[in-house]
Symmetry: D2
Subunit: 158 residues, 4 copies
Amino acid sequence: MKRAFSVDELKQTAPRLAVERRAVRFQDVDAAGIVFYPRVLEYFSDAYMVALKERGIDLPGMIAGGAIKLPLVHAEADYLLPLRFGDAVEVAVLAPKLGDTSFTVGYRVTTAGGIAAVGQTVHVCIDGARFVPCPLPDDLRSALGAAAPDGGSGAAPR
Amino acid sequence: MKRAFSVDELKQTAPRLAVERRAVRFQDVDAAGIVFYPRVLEYFSDAYMVALKERGIDLPGMIAGGAIKLPLVHAEADYLLPLRFGDAVEVAVLAPKLGDTSFTVGYRVTTAGGIAAVGQTVHVCIDGARFVPCPLPDDLRSALGAAAPDGGSGAAPR
Amino acid sequence: MKRAFSVDELKQTAPRLAVERRAVRFQDVDAAGIVFYPRVLEYFSDAYMVALKERGIDLPGMIAGGAIKLPLVHAEADYLLPLRFGDAVEVAVLAPKLGDTSFTVGYRVTTAGGIAAVGQTVHVCIDGARFVPCPLPDDLRSALGAAAPDGGSGAAPR
Amino acid sequence: MKRAFSVDELKQTAPRLAVERRAVRFQDVDAAGIVFYPRVLEYFSDAYMVALKERGIDLPGMIAGGAIKLPLVHAEADYLLPLRFGDAVEVAVLAPKLGDTSFTVGYRVTTAGGIAAVGQTVHVCIDGARFVPCPLPDDLRSALGAAAPDGGSGAAPR
């Protein structure tokens, strides 16, 4: 499978949907004393939820309504620096790359020492009644696409 | 609020609904290197789910059906020994004390060194349509009550 | 065991160490669609950590140093209202009740509809070298005790 | 980055280190009613830990000893079928592909309806004193490599 974002893009891309600042929690680390790796994907998810909300996408309402679903079909992360309890991190949600019936969201987790992790998730749009892929609704498309002040393309050279 | 179980009862009561054996997971500990305290309540919950299933209570079906709900209104735990990554534990679900519209479930977590934790949860039975307390259904009552070979009373002297 | 706080105190007590505002996360709910009950104790823990940090208590440093430990020996929660994905909540850490070698922290989770949960945790101070209870260090005592603008009394004049 | 396993390999490869059978827990699902995607990586991690233990690798001891570390530098998953509360799943840890100083572990989660998810994690071996990559210790290499009865190569044609 070809990834929508290269690791270099994830490290360097500027436009972003949202940024969430948080600290590594007491319970986020594992018995080796560093962040348990699936927690970083929870950080991605939390920041993505913040991004949707800030862009006016009402995910709780969308779930209750059921007209479309946006299941995640792929997730990945690269871990570059260890994170420990108390470390302050900034989780950036990068401007998504939009396809017809799917989109890929990029993430970058930065700490005082540099980039600690990057990753991406792929979401498909499913018609809630017929359970087949469907085009991204316009409001979602514009909310995701108009993310960055400079045009919303997460991958364009700059 | 008066507790249905005293800590001594939780330590000593023999009859039990179910026992789940597990090991403390890599991600169950916190930055202090011992089990993060809410995880012990997850252990309680997991073992309770096993108990319901073993007793023939189909909780997924009950949730989907919606005729009754069994929300938890109180939970507590006493922590007696630290638990660390890899420790083998036995989580016992003690025979519940049944009221008319509620019941209290007791729990005991035992490790090689002795009793590591005890606790209890209080559940109320709610009519899913009218959102008022309702009597425990007979099948649930018998499933919970007939737990122990010697009569299922979690508190009786023996 | 006698609780340091009654449920009424937890509902009504004004002075508080810290308040954390958060929203119920996508993954905080369970298959019944409401917050999984141990998550509320995670909310307590997260807010307690914020309180310690705001009061100048360096818990990561304290753990690394190892001179004292502050294990939790009891935790409990009462659940008053269901919480759902997206609900905004305010988690208040109430001014602790301090003993010689232990302290009890109270918590109150409030949502738009009212008080959703209250609870308390009991922590003991342990000498990290000898593994016996020890008096609360003065800096911790003053950090926890000087919580509220009106004097740090968690419940009542004393 | 070139992946050690293709998705097709992850779906089809037979030799495996370990299999863990479990059910989707009450708290593993999210507000959309299906498994929260980072939980699947927790399933991977749990099964990997089981595999290490079954192969005689004492990870708690290794962590305490500190001579080598095995940090994870990449993780990914493809989600093929939704998983719901109560679904029985089988998590297979596939025979790793071993490099000089790193190895990739594959995973496959199967449910009654077929393959629900596949994934892989990349681990590097780090000298605990000098913090540089080091060759995989022989005991780890043989434990990981001798996985399958038919030779342990996760990628060999069959």
